[in-house]
C-alpha cells in the first residue's frame, strides 16, 4: 500500500448561474511513497492549486479517490476535517500566513494550542525544531520584525511541529529573494532527508530541481513525470527546463 494514493480524481466547477462547467482536474492518478519529495509543476490553470487544495482537504474532488495511509480522505466527515488537517498535515504558504498579532513562537504554537496541548509540552516540542531551523534566537520577535526567509522558516516550524504525515508547500519560495529561496530549499531538502514526506507546488524550476520527483500537470491531467534518481541538481534543472519547453510547445500545437 502506497503512502498517498490518488486515483482518477476529477474536479468540475459548476457555476452557480448555469453557464459552462469548468474542468480543473480531468483525470489525475499517481502514488507517493513515504519520504518522497514531490514537486508539482504546470502552467497557470493546469490544476496545481486545485490538486493541492484536494490534498489539503480544503476541497473535495467530484470524482475519484484520495487515500492517505489507506484512509479515504473524501470520506472524512466535515466536522473532523479541521482536526485532520491540524494533526496529519503541515502547510507552508507562499505568503507565509503568519499572524501579525503573534510572536513567531506563538505562531508556531498555533496548531498545538488548537490541539489543546499544555504549554510545557509545546515548549519541549519547539526546542529541537527551532534549533534545526535556526530560529531559536528570534522566537520572541513579531513577523514584521524579521526577514522573509526567517518568516518562512518559522512557517516551516509551524508545519513541522505537529509531526505531520505530509507537508504541503504552495509556492514556498514565491515571496523570497534568491538567497533566501536557496536556504529554504536546502532546508526542505534536509527535512525530507530526515524522513518527512513533502508535496510542493511551484513555478520555479530551481525549486522543483530540489525535489526527488517532479510531476507536470497540463489541462487537468498528468502530462509527464521526472525522477531525480542519481541526477545532480544541475542535471535535474536542465531536464525540468526541457520538459517545460516541451509542455509549452505542446500547448502551441493544441
Amino acid at each position: 500500500m502506497a503512502f498517498l494514493e490518488i486515483e482518477h480524481i476529477e474536479k468540475v466547477y459548476t457555476p452557480r448561474l448555469g453557464g459552462a462547467k469548468v474542468r480543473a482536474l480531468a483525470d489525475v492518478s499517481f502514488t507517493l511513497e513515504q519520504g518522497e519529495f514531490l514537486a508539482i509543476m504546470g502552467e497557470s490553470g493546469a490544476g496545481k492549486t486545485t490538486l493541492l487544495n484536494i490534498l489539503a482537504a480544503l476541497d473535495k474532488p467530484t470524482g475519484g479517490s484520495v487515500r492517505l495511509c489507506g484512509r479515504e480522505m473524501t470520506a472524512i466527515p466535515e466536522g473532523e476535517l479541521a482536526s485532520f488537517r491540524r494533526d496529519r498535515l503541515g502547510f507552508v504558504f507562499q505568503d507565509f500566513n503568519l499572524l501579525d498579532t503573534f510572536t513567531l513562537e506563538d505562531n508556531i504554537y498555533l496548531p498545538l494550542v488548537l490541539q489543546g496541548r499544555k504549554i510545557n509540552d509545546m515548549r519541549r516540542m519547539l526546542r529541537p525544531i527551532a534549533q534545526r531551523l535556526g530560529i531559536a534566537e528570534i522566537l520572541k520577535k513579531y513577523p514584521y520584525e524579521v526577514s522573509g526567509g526567517q518568516k518562512q522558516r518559522a512557517a516551516v516550524a509551524r508545519a513541522l511541529i505537529t509531526g505531520p504525515q505530509l507537508i504541503l508547500a504552495d509556492e514556498p519560495t514565491g515571496a523570497l529573494d534568491s538567497k533566501a529561496s536557496d536556504a529554504l530549499l536546502r532546508l526542505l531538502g534536509e527535512v525530507n532527508e530526515a524522513g518527512q514526506t513533502i508535496v510542493m507546488v511551484t513555478h520555479s524550476v530551481k525549486a522543483a530541481s530540489h525535489a526527488s520527483r517532479v510531476l507536470f500537470l497540463r489541462d487537468g491531467r498528468v502530462y509527464h513525470q521526472l525522477y531525480r534518481g542519481s541526477l545532480t541538481g544541475e542535471q535535474m534543472f536542465a531536464r525540468i527546463s526541457d520538459t517545460l519547453t516541451a509542455l509549452a510547445g505542446g500547448e502551441r500545437d493544441a
Binding site: A56, L58, G79, L81, A82, S83, R85, R86, D87, L89, F91, F93, N97, L98, L99, D100, T101, F102, D106, Y109, L110, P111, V113, L114, G116, R117, K118, I119, M122, Y142, Y144, R158
Partner: protein
C-alpha cells in the same frame, strides 16, 4: 440628463452593495429623526400648555431637544466617517474607471440626498406612529387625562426634515472635502495597514486614574445638594476624560496581563482573541470608552429619574405630614388681636364643619409657631443665618412653639419658667440665639406637629423648642430683625386638617370651599393672606415635575441606546473585517468553524464586558451625588435609588449582552464567509 441617471444608478448600486454598513447608519438616523419629530410634536401639542405644570414639560422637552441635536450630530459624524472609510475603495475604482472627481462628487451628492430623503421619511413615519404612544406615556406619567384621537403635526415634520437636510448637507460637505484630498491610489488602497503592538501607555494610564479618581472623589463626597449640581457636571466631565484615557491604557495592560497568564492564554478559545485584542486596543479604546459613557448616561438618566418618580409618595408623606394646611403669617401688631378674638379656634371649627359632610372623620389642630435658621458658632451658640447662604454645614432649622399650644394639642402639663425651654435635637445645657439664652429644662415628651417645609428635603438638622410664652416667639422674631435683613418671617398660624376617607381629588376640589370657610370664621381682619396647601395638590405638582424628568430620562436613554447599538454594531463589523484574514489563516492551519465561533464569542465577551462593568462602577460611584441631587426635589433615600439603579442596570445589562450576541453573528458571517 443621461448623466443624472448614471449618477443615480451608481449611487443606488453603491449603497446597496455596502448595505450592511449604510443600512444601520440609515436606521440610526431614522430613529433620531423619529425622536426629533416626537419632541417637536409634543412641543406643538396644544394639550400640554393647557395644563398646569406644563412649564416643566416644556423645559424637559427643550433640554431633550438640545441633547438630541448633540447626539444626532455625533452619531451622524461617527457613522458617516465609518461608511466613508469602507467605501473609499469603491469610489477610487470609479475614479480609475474614468469618473472625474466632479462626477464622484455628484454621485455622493445623489447618495446623500437619497439617504436623507429615506431617513427623514422613515423617521417621520416612525415618529408619527410612535408619537401617540409617546404622548400617552407622557400624559400617563403626569397623571393627566388621556384624550382620544390621532394627530399629525405638519410643522414638526417640516422642522425634522429641515434639520436632517441640514445635517446631511453638512456630512456631504465633509465627505467631499475628505475625498477631494485623496489621490486615486489612496482611494484604492485598502483601509487596513499593518499596525504594531501598542505599548502600555503609562502616562495616559496615570492621568486616567487621576481624572477618574478626582471625579469619583467629588461624586462620593458630595454632601450639599446646592453645590452638587456644579459638582455633578465637573465629576461627569472628569469621569468622561478618565474613561477615555483608561480604556486605551488599561485595556492594553489588562490583555497583556491575560497573555502573561499562560494557562489562560494558551487555550484555543482565548489564544487568538487575546492577542488580537492587544493589537487593536488603541483603535478599540475610543469606541469602547464611548460605549461606556453612553451606557453610563443612560443608566444615570433612567435610574435617577425613576427613583425620583417612585419616591413621590414618600416625599409627600415627609414634606406634608398633614393632608390640608391653612396658614397665615401674623404680624407682631396683629398678635394680641389674634389671641384675644380666638379666631384660631373659630377657623378650626369652621373648617371641621365644612369637611364634616365629605369625610368620615376629621383630625384638626391649630397652633402658632416661629421658624428660623441658624448656624452653630465655635463657642456653641447659634448665630442667625443670612438668607443667601448656600453652605448648609452646621446649619439648624429651629421650630419654636409655646407651651400653651403644646399643652392644648398634646394634653400635656408643661410649665416652664421664663428663660427655660424644652429642647429636642440640641444637647447643650443652654441654647443661645443672638442675645437670647434659654436653659434646657428637658426634652419634648411627645412629638410636636411641625409642618414639613421646603428645607426639610435638604436634611438640615432640626431643633424643636417649647418656650414659656408667645412673647418668646416675638423676642426671637426681634433677634432675626436685629440682623438687619429686609424680609423678616412672621409668626405662623397653622391649621392642620386630616380628613379620613377622602381621596386626593376630592380634597383638591374642596380647597376653595375650605379656604372660604376659614376666612369667614376669621373675620375681615385675618382673612387676607390666608393660604391653603394640600398634600394632594402638591403631589400632582410633583408628579408633573418628576414625570417630566422621567419622560426626559427615558427619552435620553433611548437615544443613548440607539447610539450604543450603532457603535456596537460597527465595532463588530470592523472587528470582523480586521479579523477575517487572521481567521482564514487559522482555518487553513486547522481551526474548525466551531472553534472560530468559540474564539469570536470569547473575544466579543472580553471586549464588550469592559464597558458594561465600567458603566456599573461609574453608576455605583455616582449614586451618592445622584441621591444628594435628588434631595433637591424629593426625600428619596439611598435604598430607593439603589433599588432603581440595580433594576436599571440589570435591564440594560441584559439588553446589552443580547445586542452584543446578536451583532456577533454579523461578525461570524464576515469571518466565515
Amino acid at each position: 440628463m443621461r448623466k443624472a441617471a448614471l449618477y443615480a444608478r451608481l449611487a443606488v448600486r453603491g449603497m446597496r452593495s455596502s448595505g450592511e454598513i449604510v443600512g444601520p447608519f440609515a436606521l440610526a438616523m431614522a430613529c433620531c429623526a423619529a425622536m426629533c419629530y416626537i419632541l417637536r410634536f409634543l412641543a406643538y401639542n396644544e394639550l400640554i400648555p393647557a395644563m398646569q405644570g406644563s412649564i416643566y414639560v416644556q423645559m424637559c422637552l427643550s433640554l431633550g431637544a438640545g441633547i438630541l441635536a448633540l447626539i444626532t450630530v455625533w452619531i451622524g459624524l461617527y457613522a458617516n466617517a465609518f461608511v466613508l472609510r469602507r467605501r473609499t475603495k469603491e469610489l477610487g475604482l470609479y475614479h480609475i474607471l474614468g469618473l472625474r472627481k466632479r462626477d464622484i462628487a455628484c454621485v455622493m451628492a445623489v447618495e446623500s440626498a437619497l439617504l436623507c430623503a429615506v431617513c427623514t421619511a422613515a423617521g417621520v413615519a416612525l415618529g408619527v406612529l410612535l408619537s401617540k404612544a409617546a404622548l400617552l406615556g407622557l400624559l400617563r406619567l403626569l397623571a393627566w387625562n388621556i384624550p382620544m384621537g390621532f394627530d399629525f403635526s405638519a410643522p414638526a415634520a417640516r422642522e425634522t426634515a429641515i434639520a436632517f437636510a441640514a445635517l446631511f448637507a453638512f456630512l456631504l460637505v465633509r465627505n467631499l472635502f475628505v475625498v477631494s484630498r485623496l489621490s486615486p491610489v489612496e482611494l484604492l488602497r485598502s483601509a487596513d495597514k499593518g499596525e504594531r503592538e501598542p505599548r502600555t501607555r503609562h502616562i495616559a494610564a496615570v492621568l486616567g486614574v487621576l481624572a477618574l479618581g478626582a471625579g469619583y472623589y467629588i461624586a462620593l463626597t458630595a454632601e450639599n445638594p446646592l453645590m452638587a449640581i456644579t459638582g455633578f457636571f465637573i465629576a461627569a466631565g472628569l469621569v468622561i476624560i478618565g474613561t477615555q484615557l483608561l480604556f486605551g491604557a488599561g485595556g492594553v495592560a489588562l490583555f497583556k496581563a491575560l497573555r502573561r497568564s499562560e494557562r489562560f492564554y494558551y487555550q484555543p478559545k482565548h489564544f487568538a482573541a487575546v492577542s488580537g485584542m492587544i493589537y487593536r486596543m488603541n483603535q478599540n479604546a475610543r469606541g469602547l470608552a464611548n460605549i461606556c459613557i453612553l451606557l453610563t448616561s443612560a443608566l444615570v438618566c433612567v435610574s435617577g429619574t425613576v427613583a425620583l418618580y417612585a419616591g413621590i409618595d414618600q416625599s409627600i408623606r415627609e414634606m406634608f405630614p398633614h393632608a390640608i394646611t391653612i396658614n397665615r403669617y401674623i404680624a407682631p401688631d396683629e398678635l394680641d388681636a389674634f389671641l384675644e378674638t380666638g379666631v384660631g379656634g373659630a377657623a378650626e371649627r369652621a373648617a371641621r364643619d365644612a369637611l364634616a359632610g365629605h369625610a368620615d372623620d376629621v383630625q384638626t389642630q391649630w397652633f402658632l409657631s416661629y421658624s428660623l435658621a441658624a448656624r452653630q458658632a465655635e463657642d456653641g451658640s447659634l448665630s442667625l443665618m443670612s438668607p443667601s447662604t448656600t453652605d448648609l454645614n452646621g446649619m439648624y432649622e429651629i421650630m419654636v412653639m409655646t407651651q400653651a399650644d403644646y399643652n392644648r394639642l398634646h394634653g400635656g402639663s408643661v410649665s416652664l419658667m421664663p428663660g427655660e425651654a424644652l429642647i429636642e435635637g440640641f444637647d447643650a445645657e443652654e441654647l443661645r440665639i443672638g442675645s437670647l439664652t434659654y436653659r434646657r429644662a428637658g426634652g419634648i415628651p411627645s412629638a410636636t406637629t411641625s409642618n414639613g417645609t421646603a428645607i426639610d428635603t435638604l436634611r438640615v438638622s432640626k431643633i424643636e423648642m417649647i418656650v414659656p410664652d408667645v412673647r418668646d416667639l416675638l423676642a426671637l422674631r426681634g433677634e432675626v430683625e436685629a440682623t438687619g435683613r429686609k424680609v423678616v418671617t412672621d409668626i405662623r398660624f397653622a391649621l392642620n386638617l386630616d380628613p379620613a376617607g377622602t381621596t386626593g381629588g376630592e380634597i383638591v376640589a374642596m380647597e376653595g370651599e375650605l379656604l372660604e370657610a376659614a376666612r369667614g370664621a376669621m373675620g375681615e381682619r385675618f382673612s387676607g393672606g390666608l393660604k391653603i396647601t394640600t398634600a394632594a395638590s402638591f403631589r400632582q405638582y410633583m408628579i408633573e415635575l418628576d414625570g417630566s424628568f422621567v419622560f426626559l430620562g427615558i427619552f435620553l436613554a433611548l437615544l443613548f441606546s440607539v447610539a450604543t447599538v450603532l457603535l456596537i454594531y460597527y465595532k463588530q463589523i470592523s472587528e470582523g473585517y480586521d479579523d477575517r484574514e487572521r481567521f482564514v489563516i487559522m482555518q487553513k492551519v486547522g481551526m474548525s468553524a466551531a472553534e472560530v465561533r468559540q474564539s469570536i464569542r470569547s473575544q466579543v465577551l472580553l471586549i464588550f464586558f469592559m464597558p458594561l462593568v465600567m458603566a456599573g462602577i461609574h453608576l455605583l460611584a455616582a449614586s451618592k451625588i445622584i441621591v444628594t441631587l435628588l434631595k433637591l426635589l424629593s426625600t428619596a433615600d439611598f435604598a430607593l435609588f439603589a433599588g432603581c439603579a440595580a433594576l436599571t442596570l440589570a435591564l440594560f445589562g441584559a439588553l446589552y449582552v443580547a445586542v452584543c450576541m446578536a451583532t456577533a453573528r454579523r461578525y461570524y458571517r464576515i469571518v466565515l464567509r
